[in-house]
Symmetry: D2
Subunit: 438 residues, 4 copies
């Protein structure tokens, strides 16, 4: 075997290389640590070392070492670690003030640069260096996931969160994302995650998943190169004849698949964000539009692109709002009762009317729709197309949405116009059918 | 064909999808632009639109539109564009000062966040949005490449440069880079770039390249996912028997390849950064260490890892330094003369001694070695191993290095120690052979 | 977009191309068929057309058309089709006899070529042409799978079988096979097939599969390029400390994975052929040896390579053999009784002794071991290493093997010697422990 | 690192595995050979061993050993080897005769099987076993390439050739081929082969190749899985506006690429078979049709598919034919003179008329066109579309084709009809323009 062949053979898989550099540096670290006491302070020492260290070989080893420890950290120690991030790796107000003063005296390139450096907490650099380790990106995303759960009880962590989010917005730039189709030929590792991440209509197991990847179904996801087999966000798609009125037939594993020739509609019936730690780093809106664009181009026979979406905030709103201006007092009371069995036509009509009202007129802050799902699709430039009674009869569906589901329509020719009207004039695009309900 | 198969068939290549979204949004833009005057101001208008726009579909189209225009911009217009970036998309000092004042009054999370927002120039957001476009990352790197050439004449551009560099340090984090081996099986597109990017010992064409990828040679490069076929930095490697004393035999296309069994040494004989626009976003040091680690693991028979490097600053230093403390006045004069033909043993010995002196004692700033190549390898933790007389007899080699080349030794067990000694005590690790020259 | 980009974009997936040629030819066929009566005779007409047709465009369409029809053929029609293959596409004895006569008169290149042509049934050419269709290879393999089930009742089909097997031996040449590791990152499509194909220790579902692909387990399979996601044969592998004595701990989903450092043994505990239609086209022996070689090279710490195998023919042999020369009459009767609960030490020892005797002395034809699993491993050059009492307490294990399992040892240094001794002198390599049992 | 990770890491590249099995077996062989005399007889001994050997581990090693020796065999020894294949590994006529007799007495499955076995020379099995070795397929193809050059001088080798061809027809079944687009992103290894294999219009180097892969050009090739980076046949394609009349503008590296919107025609201007050893195992006809189908589907704007082809047999035919029935005696003499500079309009018109006559009326055997290129395209179902005067002014073009080139038109709707008419009635499909020339 020639040296070239040996090289060729042995360098096929570079994944392990990082490992080697890590190992090399780790030898050095190992000796250093033998004399150290195993303690929770040690983790911080390592972090300080990493931050200050100029040797990249052991820098990579340090980063890997810290990541491995963080992976297995006990909850209490993790809380301590978050505290340290907030306190020990924070900005120094005196430095900021001093550099702000210098800037105010002579606002130029150098004083601004100094001010910006002072205003950036050292932990941001620490995070950047941790990211060098294999699996570092994934770890940091999970770290922020945990952190978010603690913000309420400990507001001092908000600054840590803000720094991580600032990094993620840079790292997860749309230009770095890759759209992939998920199908039965995808790695089991990825499919298993799809099962676990599905947040709207739970996937009951591998058979259910397979049914959702059948000939008349599909799934698309965004991936980031640093998390190559872990989706960021995914949308489940059904090809149907006509716009669907209920979710159950879509999910039915025994259904007769729609024949290719008959399909004219694409239904987005579930969209799930996979990582709590990426909250606020949005790409869901891109996802739907890219999938619409892709399918429009490749399957020109498919004319209509709609969602089948819940109205998760409807019943909570119902019970809190003053409905008497909209319906009779009697009905106002009835519509607030839990949906159990059959309701009267009167109640049904009232609920549909009230739901249309809720979607169009109820506001969160400013002109933003109160319902989170409506806010997402309307903000994307979709149109409120149709309300479907009895569309989701699951416990959750009845509890949150009174069983109603909504079709939002994605018409690429109109989405910008809708989007602008929504954000500029707070105007919600709605079909005549829906408008007439008001 | 089932819908699934159709999907499967047509969605194989998602690259074009981005194109579709772009196209969709572009329709909208096209109409908008018909009423606009084609002018250089238009580009800025588009940039402002992109910065302020909330609709991502046309946002992507906008970004693509701007990138395409920038690709073909005339030089004068590019200068204007850089000016605009510096002026129109700059921070507003008043805002910084106001928010600095608020911070000084109540230094908390919110006031700091406001200050940081004020201190970040809008162009940074503009760059992030441009990066969404296909090829955006590559364009921005080239943009900075051009920009760097103008900093001297127009210092106001330094702020633009700083913002781009700040983004690049985040985007090109070591954790996102992929080490790949380049060989004769690599795409011609990549190989052509290797030919063009080689900066140390020019590759004369495809035959020369092929010779450098022969059984006893190799090449390794770092790639970033957003530039999948454009290397960031690469190193050329030779397998040899013993540490080489001259460059010509290494590059000889007619050489007899070293038999696999006989090879005991890995020589890094050329390392090239590919993109001027990535200046200051260093990964070369990682590259060598990862390649050492990889080869050490996969070819355990290879014991020695050395460079064969030029001393590019030697002769310039010679002519400027006071050599009389080191050599006789007579020799001091002779050694400064151009190296033309054969020199006397006396001159030769003096040049070698002076070169050792230059490498070890001449300083740039602080303790940093004056010679840029020495600075790079010593900073990486390598050791100064040997000076080779008559090692590079090319015009450039004689002109810059007096024909001398240096072997720097990479010993993974010692690099951290060397690195620390270099940075902490300004101590240069040198072999006895070299030390004795002083 | 340049034409190049368009090309690039659209030609990414060439799978569909075949479809296009098929479609083009199909138009022609469609018209032709409108005037034909839909009948089972039509399939044969198409086959005759394909055999005689000189136009490859419609030839490919014809082949695809025939394959599609065969995919959905009713059982009775399939029987008819097999009959036709046997009769209508058979050799013509007169031609053979005539060409044999010519050869006997002048045995030269041309007369031999004529004789060989006459001796090759037209169906072989038909199969080769059907193989052009997408999925053709897979269909033909399944066809032979069905055919094999009918040979007993209809011996005239033996000739059809022989022709298919002759083709498969050529097509599935070892040189065309690819060894792949199956893991949790493999496509679900492939994993699902592994679940279905496992023939020795049934996989109970996705959780069981996942457990068998855990850190201390592995799976290797041979693939053929024409069946890219359908394995031909696969072996399941466990890393253990010491040679295992029973199957249940290996399959236990709750087991504690063996630590990497502690593992010293590789156990092949299940090997399954996936396609009945490839019977007699063996590659299982290659598989084990390649996996041994691979693991030996990459995990040098693993010293021992053994199987944990059933003795499927033992109890059937027991009940038919004259055991009185080997054990007392009383025991001879007891050992033949079904294994239900606990047996006496005497019976246990007798069963083990008899099993050793069966494995070593019982013969199928000539010197070949009677037990099919023994025949496979001994024929591969493995050594009979150890018999394990109570090793498989499943119903099938007790029923066929009296609960006994055998370790066959693969020692690459000895396998050729063992193999030759087995085939040349009918000698079975056995460890001292086993030999002493006789 | 878990055992799983180790496995994962180390088994990434299975190519080397084969090597390991080979190595293992080779140890055994090495000892065996030490006692053998190094002689040309040794190669044959190895071949006999391989043929008779039952141990696949050393079988693979044997096959590899033989292949390596054959790779470096001196010419004289290769001739000996071919002789041995013809004589030592030939059928035994007595066996054929005996089994033919048995068949004549009782023509059944078993006697036929025996006859077929007797009629198959042992070398066919030898070739199948050699094919197991890495690179075996490629070696056998080259072997036949050399063999074909010797058939004329040694007709006894025809039987060896026939056996190899018989195997290749089976191995290189159209169903196993993969169509790939070759572009500037293809591996240099493949591109270098394209440069070397181009047989019609030589590629002068990498720049010429790059020009032929530019935005308005393309290249498609068939590959076989056993020769993954070695094309079998490829076709070069130009996108043009209108049907081209001459080759030089197509090959011009300085040309202005046709704009995507303007292109309406696909020109196949060069088709090359890459391996002489695959002569008679045709796939060129499939190639053009698949490329037509692919481009028709993906670039619907491209309406016309034509070739620009030489008439390589024209001038040879001219000088041998009796032209006096077609042109005046005077002209008959003039047209046979070498084409040097400008010719008279009279001579030009006569040459074009005679060329049309040659293409349509001159026959090889039966109804097959005399011109090999015409035979290929007409046999594919193409139509003779146009003759172009002064279309190829290269030395070869003038010498063989009198500078004339022909456009053959591929109209997928008509190719079967043309094909049938050509083969059934010997009718050549020609455009009116061409027909009028007669």
């Amino acid at each position: 075997m020639t040296p070239q062949q040996q090289l060729s053979q042995h360098t096929a898989n570079f994944g392990r290389m990082i490992g080697s550099v890590v190992d090399a540096g780790r030898g050095i670290l190992a000796k250093r640590r033998q004399t150290q006491q195993a303690s929770s302070g040690e983790l911080l020492t390592l972090c300080h070392d990493l931050l200050e260290h100029r040797g990249e070989a052991s820098g990579l080893a340090l980063a890997s070492e810290i990541c491995e420890r963080l992976e297995t950290l006990a909850q209490a120690d993790m809380d301590d670690f978050f505290q340290s991030l907030a306190l020990d790796f924070d900005v120094v107000p005196e430095h900021i003030l001093a550099s702000a003063k210098s800037y105010s005296e002579a606002p130029d390139f150098d004083t601004l640069a100094t001010l910006k450096r002072a205003a950036e907490a050292p932990r941001e650099k620490l995070f950047r260096r941790l990211n060098m380790a294999p699996g570092g990106t994934s770890l940091l995303v999970r770290l922020r996931g945990q952190l978010l759960g603690k913000l309420r009880e400990d507001p001092s962590l908000r600054a840590v969160d803000a720094d991580l989010k600032h990094l993620f917005i840079s790292w997860f730039n749309q230009g770095f994302l890759e759209l992939r189709r998920i199908d039965w030929n995808s790695p089991a590792l990825v499919l298993e995650r799809i099962i676990n991440y599905e947040a709207v209509h739970a996937i009951s197991g591998w058979d259910d998943l397979r049914s959702r990847l059948h000939s008349d179904r599909s799934c698309f996801a965004f991936f980031h190169p640093a998390l190559p087999d872990d989706p960021l966000v995914f949308v489940e798609v059904a090809l149907t004849q006509g716009t669907p009125e209920a979710i159950a037939p879509l999910l039915d594993q025994q259904r007769e698949p729609v024949a290719s020739e008959a399909a004219d509609t694409v239904v987005f019936y579930s969209i799930s964000n996979c990582h709590p730690g990426l909250a606020g780093v949005s790409f869901g809106n891109f996802l739907i539009k890219q999938v619409v664009a892709e399918l429009q181009q490749t399957l020109p026979g498919l004319k209509t692109f709609v969602t089948l979406s819940p109205v998760p905030g409807f019943r909570r709103w119902l019970t809190g709002a003053d409905l008497t201006e909209l319906v009779s007092e009697d009905l106002a009371q009835q519509v607030c009762e839990p949906i159990t069995g059959v309701v009267t036509a009167e109640v049904r009509d009232a609920l549909i009317k009230l739901c249309a009202h809720y979607l169009i007129n109820a506001k969160a802050t400013g002109a933003a729709a109160a319902d989170p799902v409506a806010r997402f699709h309307l903000g994307n430039g979709a149109r409120l197309h149709r309300l479907n009674w009895g569309a989701d009869l699951s416990t959750k569906g009845k509890q949150q949405s009174a069983g109603i589901m909504v079709n939002y329509l994605y018409d690429l020719d109109k989405i910008e116009q809708n989007h602008d009207a929504y954000f500029d004039q707070g105007e919600i695009s709605a079909s005549k059918t829906v408008s007439k309900l008001l």
